[in-house]
Amino acid sequence: MMKPLALGAVTGLAVIAAALGYFYSQNNGLTEAELETARTLSLASLPPLPADPSNAVADNPAAASLGEALFNEVGLSANGEVACATCHLESRQFQDDLPLSQGVGTTGRRAMPLRGAAYATWLFWDGRKDSLWSQAIGPMESAVEHGFTRSQVAAYIAAHYAEPYKALFGPLPDLAGIPAASPLGNDAQQAAWAALDADQQDAINRVFSNAGKAIEAFERTLMPLENRFDRFVAARVAGETPTGDAALTPQEIAGFQIFAGKGQCTNCHNGPRLTDEFFHNTGIASPQDPVTDHGRASAIAQVESDEFNCLGPYSDASPEQCGQLRFMSRDLHLFERAYKPPSLRGVADRPPYMHAGQIATLPLVIEHYNRASPAISGHSELTSLGLSTDEKAALLAFLQTL
């Protein structure tokens, strides 16, 4: 009597195992829904670059070539050694591999990769700038980055880039005898700025913002690059079998399924840049104690009062074109220590991670998400994942395909 029962049980288990095996193999081939999710994360779904109405030369090739020169120009710094390219190295995905960057001094945050940044609504980890041109003039006056002032930027352009500048923007103002002056500089520079009349200030701000607009035109040419995952998805969407390096391994495919499923990564890392361009508190440790960096929460007032924002006098946009700024959420509670998820394209090749390089390696990043520790300030949006060792390895393998 025992025999048939045992036989039945064994058969039952075998059927279940076979079914599971079948689903597993099916999944390795990806279901329709998974393939659709994969497509949304691939370059195939990258929309055309949105226009930037706040910058009239955003898509002007002459502006882009002036911008490229300015991007690499060490003359635009206090010590004659720092350019944008110092911290945004083309050979290194336009970042610098450091937890904190080295300019004239040391920055408080990690340099961000720049490919595809023109797709972002908000710039910087905390989004305190609403356009690439307005972003670009920030580092020039930062005491720890270029350590320059806007009057010096205008004078340098008049001395070294007058021709391309005038061809794009018209005549340069006469800046003879104006010392280093900026409303954001040290005491002497602020005093020098206050001593200028409104017309002089406006003329300097105009050249300064135009320099930023040329740099933006250059940055808009830095498009995201195709990766293995894109090639895999392109082949699969075309109904072909991916070959060569486009053929992801079963482990990499399983990693994608965790990324888009159990790992909940696509909640925030979605779209072809693998970022939702929004701000999230993910419980990242603070390098400072007590916490001095409040992320998006302190950026809202900054971008709102910035004279170089979309609604300001140096913007080429009409107010109706500044919707992102006008309808910006001001929920300070939600935004405490919230930061922008970086694009995950090329992520495996650029440790350390997070806004101040707090996490040294990708396996540790995965541990961070798996644990989901509470935030030191504000509320983390993460919940612990319970990933197995195999699942963590698969997720890592997937991130390496990006």
Binding site: A6, V10, G12
Partner: protein, 144 residues
Amino acid sequence: MKKILAVFGLLVLAVVAFVVYKMYLQPLPEGLDLATTRTTAAGHFEVSIAPEDPDYQRNTLHAWIATITTPDGTPVEGAGIAIDGGMPQHGHGLPTSPQMTEDLGDGRYRIEGVRFHMRGWWEFKLAITADGVSDNITFNLVMK
């Protein structure tokens, strides 16, 4: 013994399958009302919403038109509308603060500054005040 084991194994599998289903797929709640014409909670208004651009994309800023009538179909003029919402399954609100920017007449109102940055189920809540009467309605939208 084997029988017990088999039954036990089946049970474990069923539980695992269920948890996996719940966690991975985050399905839409059953019976989610996706109608875009609804009656407000206390029955004071009939509200229809429609995107101004039917082809709007996820994660882009766009506008909606809300059309408000009384239950007997009379357009509601001069209404005030406060907008709220979010993703109940993720526990977060809207990424922007949309506003009613224009009273278009005939009970039609433009709501600007709407952005849904994630796929999935979104609530889009309108709190309407007109002629001293306040009422509200929660629409459900699904972003692809």
